[in-house]
């Protein structure tokens, strides 16, 4: 893995922001009866930041992520994405006709990795997500958590400098979710990857984010931004962090704000 090269000194002199959304509006429905899903949202994500979008259903947080990924276009406003993007979805979205290793080599091939190097890179990626030696397994033989690990490895295969994650742990059981939260936090810290992460859980937002952006629905808009002054080193003991009083206070505050957002 070498996404760390993205944070080398030469590159940090470039524009400091990775993602710039300005004056974004998104509309659905027909021309006669348009529904404004997102109204005038601006958001900047700097290099190496871990920004979490949190808010109730229908607040447009996933829509913003899809705009950044290029899956859809805004009705108004501009989207600037300065570096290469990788996406992890709520569902693993693995290709069932390919093995675990086949899913990774699909991504490696699109990324331009030559055939002879793909097997070695596949094994590296698998060991990165704790699935060493599982390259030949069928995707449906894996548990939900293991499938999501493969999806993360597949997104990392293209060596993205920006990782977009759309409620990636929402469909997992609590234990697996906690484990993966810690691992993604550490992964981001080690590699310096910029992350834009969508969730509806205040706890997940505080645990992962260096900054939390709170959104409200009807129409979708940003109503608050909360910096998270918790330690972010690769060596940080995430499990201990959950018991930290500072974490508890932030989580409670943010939960209150998001509750207000839901009724706003």
């Amino acid at each position: 893995m070498s996404p760390t090269e993205a944070t080398s000194p030469a590159e940090t002199t470039a524009p400091a922001s990775d993602i710039e959304l300005s004056g974004i509006s998104v509309r659905y429905g027909t021309a006669k009866a348009p529904v404004t899903a997102v109204a005038d949202v601006s958001l900047t994500v700097d290099r190496g930041e871990f920004v979490v979008l949190v808010g109730p259903s229908g607040c447009g947080k996933t829509t913003l992520l899809r705009l950044v990924a290029g899956f859809q276009q805004p009705a108004g406003g501009t989207v600037k994405v300065r570096r290469k993007v990788g996406v992890v979805f709520q569902q693993p979205r693995l290709f069932p006709w390919r093995t675990v290793g086949g899913n990774l080599s699909f991504a490696l091939a699109r990324h331009g990795v030559v055939r002879t190097e793909r097997a070695a890179r596949t094994e590296e990626l698998l060991s990165l997500v704790g699935l060493s030696g599982m390259a030949r397994r069928r995707t449906w033989e894996l548990s939900g958590g293991q499938q999501q690990r493969v999806a993360i490895a597949r997104a990392l295969a293209a060596e993205p400098q920006i990782l977009l994650m759309d409620e990636p742990f929402a469909a997992l059981d609590a234990l697996t979710r906690e484990r993966l939260q810690e691992e993604v936090r550490t992964l981001a810290a080690v590699t310096g990857t910029t992350v834009l992460f969508v969730t509806h859980s205040a706890e997940e937002a505080v645990l992962l984010g260096s900054r939390v952006v709170v959104m409200a629905a009807g129409p979708g808009r940003v109503i608050d931004e909360v910096p998270v002054p918790l330690p972010r080193e690769a060596t940080t003991d995430v499990a201990a962090l959950r018991g930290d009083p500072g974490f508890a206070v932030l989580r409670t505050e943010l939960a209150a704000v998001t509750r207000d957002a839901a009724t706003a």
Partner: protein
Amino acid sequence: MTLLKDTEQGTEPAPTTAAPHTGRRTWAGAAALRWTALRLLALAVLLAVWQAVVAAGVWPRVLVPSPGDVWHAFVKASTVHDGVRGFSNHLLVEHLAVSLRRIGIGTGYAALVGIPLGLLIGVVKPLAVVLEPAVTFLRTLPPLAYLSLLVIWFGIDESPKIWLLVIAALPPIAAATAAAVRGVPADLVEAARALGAGPVSLLLSVRLPAALPEILTGVRIAVGIAYTSVVAAETVNGVPGIGGMIRDAQRYNQTDVVIAGIIAIGLSGIVLDALFKGVERVAVPWRGRV
């Protein structure tokens, strides 16, 4: 460097231990045995009723032969007797083999053309607008209707027969492929796009394999249609061939041979369909699991 540790492996059932399944498998085996017994019983009842009808003498024996007559015709058509080889100088298996070969070649060409055609119809809207009605038009035509045209164009040798089977088998394959390609989950296409897949690799590495289960079903249906069309294909100069054999037998009122031929077609169809299901299990093992 391991950042994500796998902790779930312990909670996962080991896939290699077959012990817990053995009980279920024995039960399934017993059930299969019971179903086979039921089928044999149904067959015995059918034969008994048939024999009773013949014995009652309602219709002349020439029109409705007994099961024994058909069996005799079957044996006669399958052996050399008095220097005569089977029926029309070919054994029944040879007739069947020639027809199966035609079905195989016809469906093969149909798949070769139909799958790419279906892919194109599925993804290129203007092509769909033009070709989809054409495919539907072709699908509704009875093979006997265009056989005359094919005979005029291609004569009475092998080629009109193959053409007829291709025309009969192509529409279901193209239609199934087009529908399957359109039905590929948008989620998977989006995931592939996010990984940098272009239009060509999207079509060949995502849409095609995702559609494969339904394409194979389309091919299986096409084989069935080729089966039902082979008698029509062998109407003109069809010997050797099981359809030709039935035609000739009809001409000489050999009802027993006709029935033996029909049974041979039906039985080989059951075997072929079972084989095809086996191929599907091997080729698309993920079917029904995602």
